[in-house]
């Protein structure tokens, strides 16, 4: 084989490798380096060894951020359940059903900042939610939703669920449309009602989609930022009630100019996400082998 033929595949790979190198591998290497320095962005970094990692161990806010990130994973099963339910509902041959499918998908194509701002106005002290509740007599005084520490994270999770249902339901809808109608006929003949039909036919048939959605939505939940940023007005919530890993990383890097420490947090986030991905992939592989 001539040299030219041997080098040709690498020439085709080169553009992608260069892009990956510049935008993925170099930044990762830079973050690892900066995590070993005291770096405030504006002045050159000063090597301090593992001091940033030692600081991580004593950081209560980081522990809280980790906890919040793991709590945020609860959106995944809720999203899966609601998305499947929605997909089942819209998987019908009804007049105008395409309009409903399109409308449910609108949040997925709306900007996360626009959605976040809209929810912030809704839950503002003088917002729509309080207005309705006060006018119906459910409450006598407006609730300060976003200034109540125990409500910030649940509201952010609700926003994520609301914004994601349409997107994930499309994935499940595609899966449902591949389920042979004969299976539903057989279930009906066996005496299943509608709920049992979906439990014993639809959901097992959607297993690959469920695993896929589970993986991507849980990774997205671990990396949540936009919702917290907008809902809390860049503060992370009173008493850090909404601070998650990525938000805390941003806060350290860009608000407090502790880019070195933020890089150490990024390493922790990388390891957590990597661990999670490995677990998810193992589950996926196990699921596929069981199916075979």
């Amino acid at each position: 084989m001539t040299l030219r033929r041997r080098l040709t595949p690498y020439a085709f790979l080169a553009p992608a490798l260069i892009l990956l190198g510049v935008f993925v591998f170099y930044p990762i290497a830079a973050v690892i380096y900066y995590s070993l320095t005291d770096y405030d962005i504006v002045t050159p970094p000063v090597f301090i060894g593992l001091a940033n990692f030692a600081r991580l161990l004593d950081d209560d806010v980081l522990r809280l951020a980790l906890l919040h990130s793991f709590v945020y994973l609860l959106v995944t099963p809720i999203l899966i359940a609601l998305s499947i339910a929605l997909a089942i509902v819209v998987n019908r041959k009804l007049r105008g059903i395409h309009v409903y499918r399109a409308l449910y998908f609108v949040p997925a194509v709306s900007g996360s900042i626009a959605i976040g701002l809209t929810w912030r106005w809704l839950f503002d002290r003088s917002g729509f939610i309080n207005s309705v509740l006060v006018s119906w007599g459910v409450i006598h005084e407006p609730i300060q939703w976003l200034a109540t520490p125990s409500l910030v994270l649940p509201l952010a999770m609700m926003l994520t669920i609301w914004a994601g249902i349409g997107y994930y339901s499309v994935i499940f809808l595609a899966g449902l449309q591949n389920v042979p109608e004969e299976l539903y006929d057989a279930a009906r003949i066996d005496g299943c009602n509608d709920l049992q039909k979906h439990w014993y036919v639809s959901i097992p048939a959607l297993r690959p989609q469920i695993v896929f959605v589970g993986v991507i939505s849980s990774l997205a939940a671990l990396k949540v930022f936009d919702e917290i940023y907008v809902l809390t007005g860049r503060t992370g919530g009173i008493l850090n009630s909404g601070v998650t890993m990525v938000f805390y990383l941003w806060q350290q890097a860009f608000e407090r100019s502790n880019a070195g420490y933020a890089s150490a947090i990024a390493i922790v986030l990388l390891l957590v996400t990597l661990g999670f991905s490995i677990v998810n992939v193992r589950l996926l592989e196990r699921g596929e082998s069981t199916a075979r």
């Binding site: 609108v106 912030r120 002290r125 008493l239 407090r256």
Partner: protein, 466 residues
């Protein structure tokens, strides 16, 4: 047929998306605002209502007497960044730069205005080594000392005594680090309280009897809640809580030798207890109290949902633009003073990059933007004020105006001449502030006793001094 239906539905979806995009694009300016939280807001934009003053002012002629900085480097080419002055003041800036070039021939000037991302842009520019030569920095938010402590700014004490003494002394000494000054005082603001007269009438209160001191505010807020069913729109300066403690509570935050924090004193406890009591009584909007965005409170007030709001009179035009009806119900009174007795500190400064290739030309430009003549012209276009006594000799400042935006004009000199920066330079300010903020939030919302919260914060903050 199905294909045609699908295309029709796709068209409908696209139409919906366009509408939503348009609505999103028109959302109010709640994009992260770097506009400093100092009571006089920093967005010095022209008041549309001051039509007479802002009607295309003619450019000033160059005056050789304005060339007060000597030994300008020949062929100097310098850059200047302003903070949120464009597009409203494009002409003023352009005229000023043209006049500067006539006064100091041979110097080229490149101007950029940065807004919401100013701090990020500046930090990136410093990191990349291409930061501007002259920089408009907020004194009120402590940006000058932030950059000065990292040796990024040029000390300006080498200028002549005539130049130094042309500014109010308190302003010249603002944000000094280790006794050195790093900014030419730029435009200044005057704190006022905008009052929504409807709430005061409902509560049977006279706006003219608005509290003169900060410690009287809790009682006022209680009355407003009981009688007018409205909560107060107060704000903690969450980016610089120690400064607020000093001005409002006359709290000594750092020991004289700088080795220990002392904000858990009885004065510090009294200051924080005041806010804790208001939160417990439900007389304040908790979101506005703890927001980072100083525009949040203004928006709440402009929507007619707050009884009063502390800001600079230059932002009254925002109230008018958002709610013309409220504009008609506005009263303006002086802002209350804290226990320190000091009304406030400087608002904006012009600093010089420590690594500029043209230090004299850069100092000349920074000084030129801040001299009496230049800032008097700016004052005629917006309710902000100059930094030097000589500027106030202009008849403009003793003239009266029927507009509520100009209500502080007559008292501006007296207020600004007393401005002083009484806050010590705080090492690791960002991290220390985070510790203090955590303590404040625990005391306000976490049921932790105020004394305990502050003492714990002092212990933690002292570790940052090591």
């Amino acid at each position: 047929m199905d294909t045609k239906k699908s295309k029709g539905h796709l068209g409908l979806l696209l139409g919906v998306l366009f509408v939503i995009s348009a609505c999103s694009a028109q959302s109010p300016s709640t994009a992260p605002s770097s506009a400093p939280s100092a009571a006089p807001s920093t967005e010095a934009s022209a008041s549309a209502s001051t039509a007479a003053e802002s009607a295309a002012p003619t450019a000033l002629a160059a005056d050789p007497a304005e060339a007060v900085i000597k030994d300008i480097e020949p062929g100097a080419s310098i850059s200047v960044w302003t903070f949120w002055l464009s597009p409203t003041f494009d002409k003023w800036i352009g005229d000023t730069i043209s006049r500067f070039k006539e006064t100091y021939p041979g110097v080229e000037v490149k101007w950029e205005d940065h807004q919401a991302t100013f701090q990020d842009d500046l930090k990136n520019a410093f990191a990349a080594g291409n930061a501007p030569d002259v920089i408009n920095l907020s004194v009120g938010e402590g940006w000058v000392s932030d950059y000065a402590t990292r040796n990024l700014l040029l000390p300006l004490d080498s200028v002549s005594q005539d130049v130094k003494s042309s500014y109010f002394e308190g302003l010249w000494k603002s944000q000094n680090v280790a006794g050195k000054n790093y900014q030419f005082p730029f435009y200044q603001g005057v704190s006022v309280e905008l009052i929504n007269k409807r709430f005061f009438e409902a509560a049977g209160l006279d706006p003219a009897a608005f509290p003169k001191s900060v410690e009287e505010l809790p009682a006022l807020c209680k009355t407003l809640k009981e009688k007018a069913s409205v909560v107060c729109d107060l704000r903690l300066t969450v980016n610089d809580l120690l400064a607020q403690m000093v001005y409002e509570g006359n709290v000594k935050v750092l020991s004289d030798d700088g080795t220990a924090f002392t904000f858990d004193s009885p004065e510090g406890v009294a200051w924080l207890q005041m806010y804790a009591d208001m939160v417990k009584d439900g007389t304040v909007d908790n979101t506005a109290l703890t927001t980072k965005d100083d525009r949040t409170g203004l928006l709440i007030f402009s929507a007619g949902q707050a009884p009063f709001y502390q800001t600079g009179p230059n932002l009254i035009r925002e109230v008018k633009a958002n709610n013309a009806q409220l504009y008609g119900d506005l009263a303006v009174v002086p802002a209350p003073v804290g226990k320190s007795g000091v009304i406030g500190k400087g608002l904006m400064g012009m600093s010089v990059n420590a690594k500029t290739k043209y230090p004299n030309a850069s100092m000349a430009l920074a000084q030129f933007f801040t001299n009496a003549r230049t800032l008097t012209e700016l004052s005629k276009q917006s309710a902000v004020y100059p930094s030097s006594a000589k500027a106030f000799d202009d008849p403009y400042f003793s003239s009266t105006s029927p507009l509520i935006e100009d209500s502080a004009r007559g008292s501006a000199e007296a207020a600004i001449s007393k401005y002083a920066d009484i806050v010590p330079t705080i090492p690791n300010k960002g991290d220390v502030n985070a510790v203090v903020l955590s303590a404040v939030e625990k005391a306000l919302f976490g049921n932790v006793p105020v004394q305990q919260a502050l003492t714990d914060a002092v212990t933690e903050a002292n570790k940052l001094l090591d």
